[in-house]
């Protein structure tokens, strides 16, 4: 086998493996089908838009079209590098059985195969839609020469953008394996990056954030792809720059290959910094733990203590519980943008806190025991310690934060003090009771197998069904509070009934409390029953 064939063989095998993995995962397959369905209108719209754009170009002699073409391709290139780099960082650069590959073929073959894999995946998507768009654009513009020119420009963007993304990702990974600080704070950095990305999307500031990058790249050959794409349109594209784009790609490819080889070698043969876990400080002797151990029975205290230790030492395994924060993003961004806190934000805070408090530890009381489950089940009254312990650990951790955040945002909102007080009472009851609500649902749909919560971390998390049902139930229980405290509905109810807003809020709190107690007690009863009767295998 020639040297060029090995990367092709590796890429082919990678693609086959990824397809089989996707094919076997019904959830992933459905998600992909759904995404494709969602993107279909955009793709069709894009193709039609390309046709319209072609017509616009053909009949326009005043607009700076060539500038727009160049700008579009520079921004396109930045996007390919960004997303390609992210995929390389998160997926491609940590191939399975790396040791087996590196003792069989060279790192050059492996990195070549991985880049080819990503190129094939990107091309499958982009060139399919891109070809249709190129044809539509050419028809609209009345210039068939545009089709090969546009397609060639697209190919060159992918051919340079994907390797550039890999180089970027390799640079980051190399820094990560060599820097103790980066290694320790990797999760924090990724979290900040994710928050920053979401913030850019929610604030519509994506283009402004990319502008400095555009300014850097505009004077470089990346700008020439726009000229190549516009050849044949008669809008002032420079043939010299178009030829230069092809030449640049060749030069870039040579430089990129050398860089990829070197960076991959540095990464895969690096010793890496060793982040050793220092001897863990035991919290059991602290006054807080001491007080708790006196209040709770020892088995329940044991479950609470272990829950908190595991959460502190492996926070990533609880990342699923942060999904409810997504509902907070919109109202929070609005509050930041307007500088005002409306009547809705305290309610969103209350709902998010309640949602998290229950899902954190109590939504998979049996499954999350993992390998320790047989021993746990053989302990004395495991149903009591497990169910009560997980409920208490979530409530003690999240309820105070939820109450404080709800009251704080409520005080800053137009709500009156009595209404804020009833809102605070709701926050306390709901966030304390949500764990109890979660337990029965969790034992009904347990999950025993660990799943990947990041590329390098596996954890036993609640099942999707349990999470979905729990979310609905918690929202139903919280609904009276939400309605009674919402600006419009609460006010309307107060006017219709002819009582003060506070009374409506209080009624909402009482109804939610009664519901939470009923559902919570029922759910805990089911959970205790199921844990008591649980048999392995």
């Amino acid at each position: 086998m020639t040297r060029a064939n090995r990367p092709r063989l590796i890429a082919r095998t990678e693609l086959r493996r990824r397809w089989r993995t996707t094919k076997d995962n019904t959830t992933q397959l459905l998600a992909m089908a759904f995404a494709a369905l969602m993107l279909l209108p955009f793709s069709v719209g894009g193709v039609f838009g390309a046709y319209l754009a072609g017509g616009f170009v053909a009949g326009n002699e005043t607009a700076p079209l060539i500038e727009w073409s160049r700008m579009a391709f520079v921004y396109g290139w930045i996007s390919v590098v960004g997303f390609g780099g992210y995929r390389a960082y998160a997926v491609a650069l940590r191939p399975d059985t790396l040791d087996g590959l590196l003792t069989t073929v060279s790192h050059r073959d492996v990195i070549g195969g991985l880049v080819l894999t990503e190129l094939a995946l990107w091309s499958a998507v982009f060139l399919t839609v891109g070809s249709a768009a190129a044809v539509a654009f050419a028809v609209g513009a009345g210039s068939l020469l545009t089709i090969p020119a546009l397609l060639l420009a697209l190919c060159l963007v992918l051919a340079t953008g994907i390797p550039a993304g890999f180089i970027l990702a390799l640079g980051v990974r190399n820094a990560g394996v060599r820097s103790r600080l980066l290694s320790r704070l990797r999760t924090l950095f990724l979290l900040l990056l994710g928050v920053g990305y979401l913030a850019l999307i929610f604030t519509n500031a994506f283009a402004s954030a990319l502008e400095p990058l555009y300014r850097v790249l505009a004077p470089t050959p990346v700008d020439w792809f726009g000229d190549l794409a516009a050849m044949g349109l008669g809008i002032g594209a420079s043939p010299l720059r178009a030829v230069g784009a092809v030449g640049f790609t060749v030069v870039f490819a040579v430089a990129a290959i050398a860089s990829l080889f070197r960076l991959a070698e540095w990464l895969w043969y690096a010793d890496g910094v060793h982040v050793t876990h220092e001897i863990e400080r035991s919290d059991d002797g602290s006054p807080w733990f001491g007080g708790l151990s006196r209040v709770l029975s020892q088995p329940v205290f044991g479950v609470v203590a272990v829950d908190w230790k595991r959460a502190r030492r492996s926070p990533l395994s609880l990342s699923f519980a942060l999904y409810p924060l997504i509902v907070l993003a919109g109202p929070t961004v609005t509050a930041v943008q307007t500088g005002e806190i409306g009547t809705g934000l305290p309610l969103w805070v209350l709902i998010s806190g309640t949602w998290i408090a229950g899902s954190l530890f109590a939504l998979n009381v049996v499954g999350q025991e993992g390998a320790a489950l047989p021993v746990t089940l053989l302990s004395e009254a495991p149903e009591r310690s497990l169910v009560v312990g997980h409920v208490v650990s979530g409530a003690l951790l999240i309820a105070p934060i939820t109450v404080a955040a709800t009251v704080f945002s409520g005080v800053l909102s137009p709500h009156s003090v009595p209404v804020v007080a009833s809102l605070g009472a709701s926050a306390l009851v709901l966030s304390a009771a949500s764990g109890a609500i979660a337990t029965g649902i969790g034992v009904g749909f347990p999950r025993f197998d660990a799943v990947s919560v990041s590329r390098s971390t596996k954890a036993i998390v609640p099942s999707v069904f349990a999470f979905a049902i729990y979310s609905v139930v918690v929202l139903v229980v919280a609904l009276p509070t939400v309605i009674a405290h919402s600006g419009i509905a609460g006010h309307a109810l107060a006017s219709v009934v002819g009582v003060d807003r506070f009374v409506i809020g209080l009624v909402g709190t009482v109804v939610s409390t009664v519901l939470a107690c009923l559902v919570g007690v029922g759910s805990m009863y089911i959970a205790r029953d199921r844990v008591r009767g649980h048999r392995l295998g």
Partner: protein, 293 residues
């Protein structure tokens, strides 16, 4: 020329020393049993010898090629890590064909070899099932076949019988024995002392990064100066005993008795050198160090 040779091979991770000044010579066509407790540095040594990890100091050669020459090393070695490097999404046959092609083996010959190996390991009927559905033992067998498919001169096996039932383990042991008959060299790391006792021509025991004793199984047991019936396990327990008092305060019996890295002897006067060495005359130097240092 030796199949494997190392000189003062050292690996440090930051301030931690995983392997310290390892001197090894493994002759062609022999089985070298590499023993040591967990964390002794066995896997790190194997990773250095298979060119997966760069040594911090010292040198190593496989078939005369320095381990820094990765392309040359790859061609002459087969490696089965503790976790077999197999892809769950492929079938056993696809996995072997894939690595055969990566190794540049002619297609027809690859097929023949695969068929022979599958038959030998009783895997023919399961060859077209996905590895995802394999038991641990079956995965181990596929990993072993993969390491041997290109008939390498030197084979590195890390716990090759791990997860295998007694019958499959016997097949693996027979395969290893056959390999040496054919002139291949096997570097075998395992915790199962009976395997080493049965197969190894030379045994080296690594402890905290140091090679604390080396010799044939018979030599090592003979050096124990103990009553008849001394086993390799006794030797292992002796040379890897904690250096110093145990939790109960007592010094373990025989601890440090066989501590000479080269020949496992204690000094004639019963003293043991500070660094565990005695000179060739059986004396300890005045400074407490063996004079052969």
């Amino acid at each position: 020329m030796s199949a494997i040779e190392t000189h003062e091979l050292t690996k440090r991770f930051g301030t931690e020393t995983a392997v310290e000044g390892l001197d090894l010579t493994v002759d062609r066509g022999t089985v070298y049993g590499f023993l040591g407790p967990n964390g002794a540095g066995k896997t790190t040594t194997m990773r250095m010898l298979t060119s997966l990890t760069r040594p911090t100091d010292g040198e190593a050669w496989i078939d005369g090629n320095p381990v820094s020459d990765r392309d040359a090393i790859r061609a002459s070695i087969g490696y089965l890590p503790e976790e077999p490097p197999v892809f769950d999404e492929l079938t056993g046959r696809e996995q072997l064909e894939y690595f055969g092609r990566l190794r540049d083996l002619p297609a027809a010959e690859t097929e023949t070899r695969i068929a022979d190996w599958l038959d030998r390991f009783d895997l023919t009927d399961d060859a077209d099932k996905r590895i995802d559905d394999y038991s641990k033992g079956m995965r181990q067998k596929i990993g072993l076949i993969q390491a041997l498919l290109h008939e390498p001169d030197v084979v590195f096996l890390d716990e090759p019988t791990s997860g295998l039932d007694p019958r499959a383990a016997r097949t693996v042991l027979d395969v290893i024995a056959d390999l040496t008959d054919d002139g291949h060299t096997v570097f075998l790391s395992t915790h199962i002392l009976s395997v080493v006792e049965e197969l190894a021509d030379v045994v080296g025991v690594l402890y905290e990064g140091d090679l604390v004793t080396e010799g044939s199984p018979a030599e090592l047991t003979a050096r124990m100066e103990a009553e008849d019936g001394t086993t390799l396990e006794d030797v292992f327990l002796s040379v890897t005993a904690e250096r110093g008092p145990t939790a109960s305060g007592a010094i373990p019996e025989n601890a440090g008795r066989v501590t000479d890295r080269r020949d496992g002897r204690v000094a004639d006067d019963g003293r043991v050198a500070d660094d565990g060495r005695v000179d060739d005359d059986g004396r300890v130097a005045d400074d407490g160090r063996g004079e052969d240092r």
